[in-house]
């Protein structure tokens, strides 16, 4: 099938194309130089053309998402998706899998990374991937509290740790190293937490600093496409900005050596909004976003995604078990908690970010501050779906960024006055243009995930994942911006039109991307001995039953990485 997209205004930051009127040709699922006369014409006059969106951090599939769905039937009732020819779905903050896929696609997103996969329950994540249409997927297994990792890093055995990570990525069909509250979730197994970067983990006697630094070294030793993906300690606690800065600093000096992709950074700080809090309690709570933004701007090794609070009723879920307990004690709402044997833990709590709440308003402002003061090459749009708000609110976040008028309407009329008093969002005159929006919603993500060879741009050879939005580049009406980005005019996935006028017209299933890393055979044998020992002594499952097996292979797309030089 051939297509030619005519007269659209193209924004493609990875190729430096900023609002040029040009035609895009598509053939057999790829973007090509030219097409024959038989190509179908898509008229994009009056529209902007961008690469398909890439979400680098979203909780869309797996055990804790499903706990959210199960224990929040009242959320299920809040939004119902029923369109002819498509599977029905429900849920506002924790939508069912089909609704997730369709709605991402409606917004022009074509690739989504599941942010936290407990390795032991990887099958569940992949099971849900099988039922999530329209998007390419990948999942990041959790390593920051894994016993094997803690032991290897304690001994300083980076190579063995690297081999273990390589084995785990292949066994769970994972994509990157995710670290959540390093050491803290393990400490939660003792009913404790870690509160600073040098607070030792009970029993293992290793510090979060050693875990983060060690895994960053492992990551670059293996040459993985994505850097370590870190949710630092002390999430959501007033005064945590210092921990955040220290964590960013602790990996300084490590060089990015990806074997695939064009990544230049070694540290990805996710949902940075939750980590930029000043003050000592909720009473003197204030924004430290400027300090964080300043550090990120001047350092070459770090990028952030924001985790913008959207001021909705939502469901929080994270592998940061102790933090969810704190949250439950704060708002008194129902709480689910889970311990994943030797690997991690998790918690789920519903949460209402009321615009009238002073603290929530400051959280909202901190997110916007990070967007407005950070270099747009180093920041990415997320809402940490569903923790700070559902992904269907991305268009609203875009509208806040593109229109100061719309932002001010919220700042002065809808949210609590603390947002003006305790942050610098009111002083920012910056308005994003569409080029910058394209950066923070697709280009930056593709680059930092190491997928920029084929994703996140519109150059020849790229996958034909294309979003076309009906919007005037000078538009400042917040409502119109929101509508344009919520319902794309056209979306192409793999060279096929899948969305037309905001409606999904074709259901198709994307690929599941994972890493197939080969390390030296001798080393792997040694490490497997340790793995077998752990399974024999501690795991509740047999080693043979552990890896995600071929039954879950729907459309697997492995990225092969040769690290056999590690012996």
């Amino acid at each position: 099938m051939e297509y030619i997209i005519k007269n659209g205004i193209v924004y493609d930051p990875l190729n430096g194309i900023n609002g040029e009127k040009m035609d895009i040709c598509v053939k057999d699922g790829k973007i090509v130089e030219s097409v024959s006369d038989k190509a179908k014409v898509i008229d994009a006059s009056g529209c902007v053309v961008m690469p398909g969106g890439v979400d680098s951090h979203s909780h869309v599939a797996g055990a804790k998402v499903n706990v959210g769905r199960m224990f929040r039937p009242e959320d299920s009732k809040m939004e119902i998706f029923a369109k002819k020819g498509l599977r029905t779905g429900t849920g506002f903050s924790v939508p069912s899998t089909y609704k997730t896929g369709y709605q991402y696609c409606e917004m022009g997103y074509t690739t989504v990374i599941e942010a936290a996969m407990p390795p032991l329950i990887a099958r569940h994540t992949h099971e849900e991937f099988l039922e999530t249409p329209q998007i390419d997927k990948a999942a990041m297994p959790l390593f920051g509290n894994n016993w094997m990792v803690l032991e290897y890093l304690k001994e300083g055995d980076i190579k063995a740790c690297a081999a273990y990570v390589a084995w785990m990525l292949k066994a769970t069909k994972g994509f990157a190293i995710k670290i959540v509250n390093p050491g803290g979730t393990e400490a939660w197994g003792w009913g404790k937490n870690v509160h600073s970067l040098d607070d030792p983990v009970p029993y293992f006697d290793i510090t979060p600093r050693e875990i983060v630094r060690g895994l960053a070294e492992v990551n670059e030793l293996l040459g993985l496409p994505h850097s370590i993906h870190v949710h630092p300690n002390n999430l959501g606690h007033p005064g945590n900005w210092e921990t955040t800065l220290e964590t960013m600093k602790c990996v300084e000096g490590i060089k990015a050596k990806p074997k695939v992709g064009e990544r230049e950074t070694v540290y990805y700080n996710t949902h940075c909004q939750f980590h930029s809090y000043g003050g000592t309690s909720w009473k003197d709570f204030e924004s430290k976003a400027l300090e964080i933004a300043e550090y990120v701007n001047k350092s070459k090794h770090a990028v952030i995604d924001v985790g913008q609070v959207t001021l909705d009723e939502t469901t929080t879920m994270t592998a940061d078990g102790p933090m969810e307990y704190d949250l439950h004690m704060t708002n008194g709402l129902k709480w689910a908690n889970c311990d994943v044997e030797l690997e991690t833990g998790s918690g789920v709590v519903p949460f209402i970010y009321s615009p009238k709440g002073p603290v929530y308003s400051v959280q909202w402002a901190i997110g916007l501050e990070l967007f407005l003061y950070t270099n747009t090459d180093k920041v990415m749009l997320t809402t940490d779906h569903p923790n700070a708000g559902p992904f269907t609110r991305y268009p609203r976040v875009i509208a806040w960024l593109m229109s100061k008028k719309y932002r001010d309407e919220w700042l002065y009329n809808k949210v609590h006055k603390w947002a003006q008093q305790r942050s610098h969002v009111a002083d920012a005159d910056k308005e994003y243009d569409l080029y910058e929006i394209a950066k923070i919603t697709r280009a930056n993500q593709a680059k930092v995930l190491g997928l920029s060879e084929t994703k996140g741009h519109l150059g020849v050879g790229a996958e034909a994942d294309i979003a076309i939005y009906e919007i005037d580049p000078e538009e400042k009406d917040g409502k119109k911006i929101e509508k344009a980005f919520r319902y794309a005019k056209y979306v192409l996935k793999g060279g096929e039109v899948v969305v037309k006028d905001g409606n999904v017209v074709k259901e198709m299933f994307g690929d599941t991307i994972y890493l197939d890393v080969q390390v030296g055979e001798e080393l792997m044998k040694e490490v497997l001995k340790d793995v077998e020992e752990k399974f024999r002594r501690y795991y509740s499952v047999n080693l043979d039953n552990y890896p995600v097996s071929e039954e879950y292979a729907h459309s697997w797309r492995p990225i092969k990485i040769d690290a056999t030089d590690i012996n």
Partner: protein, 273 residues
Amino acid sequence: MKELILTLQKEIIVPVEMDKVLPEVIEKMSLEEIKNIELVQGRKRVKLDDIFDVELNDIEGEPRVVIKNSNQKLKYIGSKMTKGEVIVEGDAGMYVGAEMKGGKIVVNGNADSWAGQNMKGGELLIKGDARDYVGSAYRGDWRGMSGGTIIVEGNAGNEIGEFMRKGVIHIKGDVGIMAGIHQNGGMIIIDGNADVRVGGEMKAGAIIVYGKVEEVLPSFKFEGIVENPIIKLSKKDEGTPVTGTFYKFIGDYVNRKPKGQLYISVDSNPDLI
């Protein structure tokens, strides 16, 4: 104003959702339009006159819907209604008066579970029995009934007034277990007997039981015996006078600083303490 009389033609097997047939809706419609109202039946849609005989009269006063020959297959009767009157001749299915904001529903028969779920205002009168979850919250929700009055002349089932915040539930018969569970305001009056765990995990509000109570949870604190108490639900509340002699308890102390009041008739429970 208009009066719509619906007579169910024959027994139906698959339940029908009646939430589109409300007094305020039919008020503005012609007979032809009313006959063509689409109702959800299982996974299909049916027209109103496929299953009902439809009759439309002009009457004095508020608009009214009368459902004759009704049975428990008719769900969501009067759901989300704001004014007027719905009269059910026969039994009502699940969710009768769910999320209703105003007006009045009279069920001249029994009602299935979830009657008056998340009710916000108005009056729901059930002349027969009601099953479980009378005046409760939606499944999973912690924000329950926030106003209005529910009266059940017969017995009611388990977990009535779950997560209730405001309003009144008056059961003239007996109730099952866990009446007023998680109650956070409002008043539940039970004329008959109550099974175990009355007021479990309640934080505020009041429960009055005139009949026999199986047990009082150990997490309730005995405050003494009161005569003809005036029950205040908040500081500004003028209070509701109640006649009789009661044991008064405060609870449930599984919560921090609970303000829930539990009154249990001394006459019916001479050996309780």
